[in-house]
């Protein structure tokens, strides 16, 4: 992991977004978003639904070209395919809300193996090296107990572990996860967070995780990228989760309250447009309780 940083052109940044703006059919989705991520950093991409979190992840992945600004992933722009193939997958991706039907003919071990060679041609013939790697990766996320189950028959939390293993098996240096804790019970969510924190700490994998509720992540986040109305505030929890910073971001007054060790953001009086903190009232902020931010 450390030897690869020698290939980076400047500093040790794995990912850098510079002034990213995205406009889709006249609507501004992102406005001048900039931040950088270094190896082993755990970054929370926090904000209400519709704020632009998924769009930021899609820009990083090269699935959404920005209207302006640059993205640099491990020294090159995404979408330059030949370079990415030669380097191997730098970025692992766990998409939002996968709906896997129970009749999808993929066992857990098949899904994880697709993380190794799902982009190659030919039948997936048995290979001892791959089987061992799959077993090892499943152990790393605590999913080795259901390796032979159909992935569509698993619970949401179990499926998240499997998809993390799928992303992890190609040894990415940056792992992007889109709302992996949404719709999970507290116990499953904590399990996922513990796995991710361990990956960041032990394997120096940089984690960028989007969430509408920051509280389950409060213990493990090195940094917050708080997104509201297409703009982002970046820094430590203390720097970002402040009434003045977030009011400026939302473009209206919001209160950042610390209640019983949780952070709750409460809207001001007028909240007319989407992405306003008024949406936060409907987020399950108060469901979770996991320490101070």
């Amino acid at each position: 992991m450390t030897s690869t940083s020698a290939r980076l052109p400047r500093s040790d940044e794995l990912l850098r977004l510079d002034g990213i703006s995205v406009r889709l059919s006249g609507r501004e989705i992102l406005n001048d978003v900039s931040f950088a991520i270094r190896p082993g950093e755990f970054t929370g991409l926090i904000g209400p639904n519709g704020a632009g979190k998924t769009t930021i992840l899609r820009v990083i992945l090269g699935l959404q070209p920005p209207s302006s600004g640059t993205v640099t992933v491990a020294g090159s722009e995404p979408g330059q395919r030949p370079g990415r193939r030669r380097r191997g997958p730098v970025v692992g991706y766990v998409p939002q809300k996968l709906l896997i039907e129970p009749d999808m003919p993929l066992r857990v071990r098949d899904v994880v193996a697709l993380g190794v060679d799902g982009n190659r041609l030919g039948l997936p013939l048995p290979s001892r090296a791959r089987r061992d790697l799959v077993a090892e990766t499943l152990r790393a996320v605590g999913a080795d107990g259901y390796a032979d189950a159909r992935v569509g028959e698993l619970s949401g939390g179990e499926q998240q572990r499997v998809m993390i293993a799928h992303a992890l098996i190609s040894s990415p240096r940056l792992l992007l996860l889109d709302e992996p804790l949404a719709n999970l019970d507290i116990r499953s969510a904590r399990g996922i967070v513990a796995i991710l924190a361990r990956l960041a700490h032990e394997q120096r994998i940089a984690i960028l995780i989007s969430a509408h509720d920051m509280n389950p992540l409060a213990q493990v986040m090195d940094r917050i990228v708080y997104v509201a109305a297409g703009r982002a505030a970046v820094g430590s929890s203390e720097e970002v989760l402040r009434t003045d910073v977030l009011s400026n971001l939302y473009g209206q007054h919001v209160d950042v309250l610390h209640v019983h060790g949780r952070v709750v953001i409460v809207a001001g009086e007028d909240d007319e447009d989407t992405g306003s903190p008024g949406d936060l009232d409907r987020q399950p902020d108060t469901v979770y309780g996991s320490g101070a931010a």
């Binding site: 991706y93 003919p105 799902g118 041609l121 030919g122 997936p124 999913a143 189950a149 513990a194």
Partner: protein, 312 residues
């Protein structure tokens, strides 16, 4: 029992030219449909398969009208319809239903006209029956090499693309990030589907062709867990249903009304449906053991969560 086998494998069966051709072509069709069908069901494109079959009906009945073998009509219109579905967005979930419905209606309307003209020009209903319900016992020997070659092409496309198709079914976004040309792969798959449907239309008729595509695959997906095994089981079910269907149809020449064999398509489709229903009798024992195992893993993960919550 001996009497039963003597009856099932009626005298003259092995030496009958049409039966041998039927068994050969039937095997190719069943294997192709079985393997392609696994992906059709997985990708949720059963309806698209049916639309291709309906448009192929138009091609088959049109080919009859101009004196061509119906297979070429099935194939040309099937692939044309696949291209059209691709262009109007069959791969987008929203566009899929509407696009498929429009193509389907247009195809069957023309087929009605062509079949009427076929019947009017030959004064028989033979063309209609052959196009709609198949003609595996009267396959022209000149088309056999083309049928086998088409089947192998469709099979090859799907086998070579199997992993990228599975990854795209799991998540098109992940596939795109991994450098898979998702749309091109989907288009190549639609072509293979069109070929497979055309072959199936020759064997058991355009109207029933999706039965051989969807039935064995749906059954296999209930029985086998992994992708390679699902493809193998699906192909096997298709082959068994086809062979048994051909045997029974051959035997049915002795059944009332005497001297007229029952349609082989009926037997094949009936067997496919019986296999599918039988798969429901199977106790989902493996599934249950998987759940138990996952419960144990849950306990394992709770221990590491304990460390997390202790910190908070």
């Amino acid at each position: 029992m001996e009497h039963f086998f003597h009856y099932l494998f009626a005298p003259g069966l092995a030496s009958s030219g049409p039966v041998r051709v039927a068994l050969l072509v039937g095997t190719v069709v069943a294997v192709t449909s079985g393997v392609v069908g696994v992906f059709t069901v997985t990708r949720g494109q059963s309806f698209a398969g049916h639309a291709l079959a309906d448009v192929a009906t138009t091609g088959g009945s049109g080919a009859f009208l101009i004196g061509l073998n119906q297979f070429w009509g099935f194939l040309a219109f099937g692939i044309g319809a696949a291209a059209f579905l691709e262009i109007i967005g069959v791969q987008r979930r929203r566009g899929r239903d509407v696009a498929t419905g429009v193509v389907l209606g247009a195809g069957l309307g023309l087929a009605a006209l062509f079949l009427y003209l076929d019947a009017a020009s030959t004064s028989t209903t033979g063309a209609s029956f052959t196009v709609l319900f198949g003609s595996i016992f009267v396959i022209a020997s000149s088309t056999v090499p083309a049928l086998i070659a088409s089947g192998l092409i469709a099979l090859l496309v799907v086998v070579v693309l199997s992993r990228v198709l599975l990854l795209s079914s799991l998540s098109p976004d992940i596939a795109a990030v991994r450098g898979v040309p998702v749309r091109a792969v989907g288009a190549a798959y639609l072509i293979a589907l069109a070929i497979s449907v055309s072959l199936s239309a020759v064997a058991i008729g355009a109207v029933l062709s999706t039965a051989l595509l969807i039935g064995p695959a749906a059954t296999a997906l209930r029985i086998a867990r992994g992708p390679v095994r699902a493809m193998a089981v699906s192909a096997l079910i298709g082959v068994v249903a086809t062979w048994l269907g051909i045997l029974l149809a051959y035997d049915s020449y002795d059944w009332p009304p005497h001297g007229h064999g029952w349609p082989v398509s009926f037997f094949i489709v009936a067997l496919v449906v019986i296999f599918y229903l039988l798969s429901y009798l199977r106790r989902p024992s493996r599934s249950r053991s998987a759940r138990t195992a996952s419960g144990a893993a849950g306990a394992h993960s709770r221990s590491e969560e304990g460390a997390c919550s202790a910190a908070s």
